[in-house]
Symmetry: C2
Subunit: 203 residues, 2 copies
Amino acid sequence: MATPPPTDLRLLRGARSRHTVLRHAIDIASLDGLTALSLGRLATDLDISKSGIQTLFGTKENLQVATVAAAGEAFHDAVVVPALAAERGVARLRALVERWVDYASTPLFAGGCFWAANLAEFDSRPGPVRDALARQQRQWRSLLAAELRHATEKGEIADLDPELAAFQLDAVLLAANTSLRLGDETATAMVERTVQGLLTPPQ
Amino acid sequence: MATPPPTDLRLLRGARSRHTVLRHAIDIASLDGLTALSLGRLATDLDISKSGIQTLFGTKENLQVATVAAAGEAFHDAVVVPALAAERGVARLRALVERWVDYASTPLFAGGCFWAANLAEFDSRPGPVRDALARQQRQWRSLLAAELRHATEKGEIADLDPELAAFQLDAVLLAANTSLRLGDETATAMVERTVQGLLTPPQ
């Protein structure tokens, strides 16, 4: 391989800085919320010049939107991608939930679930940040609903409304995230028993 | 009635100011979170001297704890007290949920559910504020669980685990609060159908 020309090297360094900054931004946002993000705080924490961060992201809102997108990608890689190896229907649903519990309890982000922290903060603030968070939540629920529909169509589970069941399952996962943060050890069992209840075999 | 002596008048004025300040503090905390509360902001918003607010509450943390307690009282008055008129079991459970949906959708506080907003913010921050929020959530879940237990013991509904069902119901209420804030009109139907599912009559 030839050495990349200087412009490409600059782009590559830019991409790497962007990744480093966003990774830290996600941790701040999951712990303290997206409003706690600022170009200045990131510059101080990462010992980079504030003008460098400004060049990468422009405004605070752009930084917030980029952080939401980066969190979405990290979630997708950690929770969704591994579950795609499981067969569609009950098996994939169980894999998604198992990965989700890992994601919230390990946790992938310093403050636990990114959406639990930030939807609560932004649900009353119309704008591009709220839109991005809400879109990601809808995608996640649609994914759960699709596997629930698949499971009923395959006759793996008793008939149910996939949209309602996905809403309930997502709600229980978010509540379990809060319980885990509060040190309540029963949260995982609550998730397991909810899944068990939804995935009743047909009579 | 005799005119109260000057000391009592001062106490009365103090209690009134305290109530006014806390009512505004609850609205700020439900919209922007308890961390957005500050003695200075309250003083500016309400056009009171900062030293007056300081005399009433002392520190920011004391103000936060007092705000949590005041929100708990307002919730109790708006949601719990009216439901106590309904017969224990299914009737009271339905009344509690109906009142809760009113509380979140009217809404009682400017930013919707106070605990949805603030548990997400404080669940990773050990201390008296988190402890107070978590205690109130446990009390609310216990109240739901007690009525579910009552309903099964009276034979009004099919057998279920009251603790699990209360966890699920509370989770769905919190998720519905977020949906309502995001303008999703299906949230109330999701709550109603979840209640319907839990309150299945015995076979």
